[in-house]
Amino acid sequence: MNREELLKSIKIKFKQSIKDFLDKSETRVYFEIDPKDIKELTEYLFMDIGARFNIASGIDTRFNIEIIYHFTIERLNLIISIRVKLDRDKPKVDSITPLIKGAEWIEREIHELIGVDFTGHPNLKRLLLSDDWPEGVYPLRADYKEWDKGAIRDRGV
């Protein structure tokens, strides 16, 4: 399957859920899809096509929360980025960890740093932040404010 055939097959298979498509360059394509279909699309890319899951990046755009799942297909030299847009007040999306074991940590990280709820994640605990970090404070949100009164932010000179 070459590049054009692959993109065509995705477009046909997920016709209803694709909201936007950007063919940025020879090696980078971006899809925007409906959040409820992310699991199926992941399954198609990872199991059937044999793509490698790179990482997911979560972004707070002030209007909504975006999660971008990056997949690489080495033999085509193509990076496919799947974008889902979530509601900013209650971000919630299906977990892809049951399909890809390598996605466990990044979903835990997005959960604690941006506050996205991944339904179906087997072990949605804290990964990076310390135990005294308050609940509900997400450092990578755009409206994050310093909560720690004891923090020193000058160099003392």
């Binding site: 932040l129 310390s130 135990d131 450092p139 310093e146 720690d148 004891g150 923090a151 020193i152 932010r153």
Partner: protein, 144 residues
Amino acid sequence: MSIKLKALLKSPWVFHLSTGSCNNCDIEILDCLTPRFDIERFGMVLVGSIRHADVLVCTGSVNRKCIPRIKEIYEQAPKPVIVVAIGECSLSRGMFINSYNCPVPLDKIIPVDVYIPGCPPKPEAIIAGIAKAIEKIKANANKK
């Protein structure tokens, strides 16, 4: 000079504590052990447990998760202990000063005796820094 201090300065044993550093300073400290620099000729040995150490070498901008552990390790150290801060991060947190996970500098948590600046300091600088600290403590003890 007390016999305890004299023994300490003759052959200081070093315990190395990384408090969330980028690894550069840590590698340079290990470099000091290897044949090119060979700090063992000054009687310095890197030990695996704080309970055997005379010098506590700290690197890294202090991480929120590490703060309670640093305090604990300092308490476990047999006194007197010389605390050496290595690298810009443990001096003032350098470029991590505005990071949400690095709230306070190292010297607000435990008392620091020697500061060795650099990003990372060269092994020569690290050896010189510790040697200078020993000289200074010797001079202070002799004055008394």
